[in-house]
Symmetry: C2
Subunit: 337 residues, 2 copies
């Protein structure tokens, strides 16, 4: 059986209060500190975080709910987030809800029972219904990547400037003379889908180009979806001369579709993609793309959560918007008149 503070008290002849103070960084007489340290070593004492949690009413655990763990964009965020959090002695419980709103809600409940100190969520359910219980339980919530309208001003968030990212990419294509620009989006009601669409529309309108519905496709953020969407776009009677594909998986699928159809980039079609993931920089080396600061997102999440936690409820919800970068490759070219 593991030894407890009581054992230490007996061993050292000190009181519980002194020991507790020692472990929590308080001042203890030099002689006693040595006494304690010796006893700790002798008895292999390890503080019991569970008991401490019960008393302090904080578990130092953050629950993280994500749509998919098998997604490089998400794991790189989690990875950097967990790094910062653990360095501050917070543990991370990850719940993968497989993009299923029902599972997502269950995960919230699961984590509430566990009395997590905070919740970080890349939301699957765009209505935010799943977070109601956490809101009522007064658990700090942090949204990542996807805002939820009904929770505006109620919870903090770390996002990227989707509208700008999208309009910047599209403007780039417009500048090159393209007018027929295909857009491949994620699933319809998602925050990122809607904001990226908005950026696209803005850019077109600012350039005096009337958006054409046929050029807008939804690819579910999956590779198959991207393949399908691009397939449809290039099959149009009056196909686009340029493509903006708004996530990594769809980009891969899209590239395949182009390959299968013998369409060469940028000779036949200009393409701007999304997300640079190290692993694949080699495969399609020269794509022009919108890069999100994954590591920065994770870090900001961790820090914002830490800040919220240490403010003990006085913190006002805050939205941190990180900017993306358009890195130019060789997958776009000017449209000859």
């Amino acid at each position: 059986m593991a030894s407890t503070m009581k054992d230490l008290a007996r061993e050292t002849g000190l009181g519980l209060a002194t020991l507790s103070k020692y472990f929590n960084g308080g001042n203890v007489r030099e002689k006693n500190r040595r006494l304690i340290e010796a006893a700790v070593k002798k008895l292999h004492y390890v503080p019991n975080e569970v008991a401490r949690s019960l008393k302090t009413r904080q578990t130092r655990v953050i629950g993280v709910i994500i749509p998919e763990l098998s997604n490089a964009f998400i794991t790189s965020i989690i990875s950097s987030m967990e790094d910062v959090l653990r360095r501050h002695d917070y543990a991370v419980i990850v719940c993968d809800c497989r993009s299923d709103p029902k599972r997502e809600k269950e995960a919230v409940e699961f984590l509430i029972h566990r009395r997590v100190d905070g919740l970080i969520n890349m939301a699957t359910d765009p209505t935010g219904a799943h977070l109601k219980a956490a809101l009522e339980a007064n658990i700090p919530i942090l949204l990542v990547d996807r805002l939820i309208k009904t929770l505006r001003n109620k919870v903090s968030a770390v996002i990227i400037d989707n509208e700008f990212a999208s309009s910047q990419a599209v403007s780039k294509l417009l500048d090159l003379g393209h007018r027929k620009i295909g857009l491949v989006l994620g699933s319809p009601r998602l925050y990122t889908t809607e904001t990226r669409l908005a950026g696209y529309l803005n850019a077109l309108r600012n350039a005096g180009v009337e958006p054409d519905e046929r050029y807008i496709r939804y690819g579910d953020y999956t590779m198959d979806g991207g393949y399908q969407a691009v397939q449809e776009l290039i099959g149009l009677e009056d196909p686009p001369t340029a493509l903006f594909i708004t996530n990594f998986e769809m980009m891969l699928g899209g590239m395949l579709a182009l390959q299968h159809n013998g369409i060469e980039i940028p000779r036949d079609l200009s393409v701007i993609g999304f997300d640079k993931l190290e692993l694949f920089s080699g495969i399609f080396p020269n794509l022009t793309l919108v890069r999100q600061p994954q590591l920065g997102i994770g870090r900001e999440c961790a820090n914002l959560m830490l800040e919220t936690l240490s403010s003990k409820g006085t913190a006002v919800p805050r939205v941190i918007t990180l900017s993306t970068e358009l890195t130019e490759g060789t997958s776009t070219r000017a449209l000859e008149p």
Copy 2:
């Protein structure tokens, strides 16, 4: 403030024991059960798992320590593992140690403090030194993917039959008439590296082929490493006619190297790879490869851990070896004499 069982007791007029029994699935008079359910609803009662943990001495938390979260093979294991575990009301704390033995050891300590019920570890440190504290604390340990020699018969494990997988792949190449077979391995001291090497050597020797050291390269399980290794192999004076590349990342890197050198598969070189990851089945569609049952590995891990936990220390350490599958594509061909 959240309500407690005491509040429920006051509300219902029942004793704590009755309530506790109710929540733990015991028999309660029908009238009382209704009383309790009404009170739970009214007071928004949520059981406090922390208090329960303190009393029962089990946290229902499993600590998982992995070398990298940004690795599709690993996340798919974790994903299926977490799924099963959460269904049994166990939470998973994931610690990514970035393939750093120091961080790995810290993670073990971190999790011990948290009083996790069990530890699942894809080990970075092949000596197993990091697990000593957990062993002493009598925490059930489960190794995944990589065995540790010094812990033999002391801890359970879920692995694949690396030797067989490797020798099967190499035999396949031998059958096709290849004698000069290049092997790209992971980092030198890793379990998987050593066992896959052993399988390679066995297959060669069984076929009466003397292994050639120049054909054996270490690619660190990274894409760059794979690129480099393949680059070296094809640059040899007497280059191999076939390649066996023992993980997914190195395989990608290797394919790139071949591409850059204008080497066509299988015309110029036969290749067998490792791990099928859905996302990329489209990119290199017809590779012959060794497939590991990732989902099965995760599931087996979860079940074995659950079993160990419910046996309350009476369970004998057990190694579960799952088999791989060699799926034939079109990346190999018979060597013409």
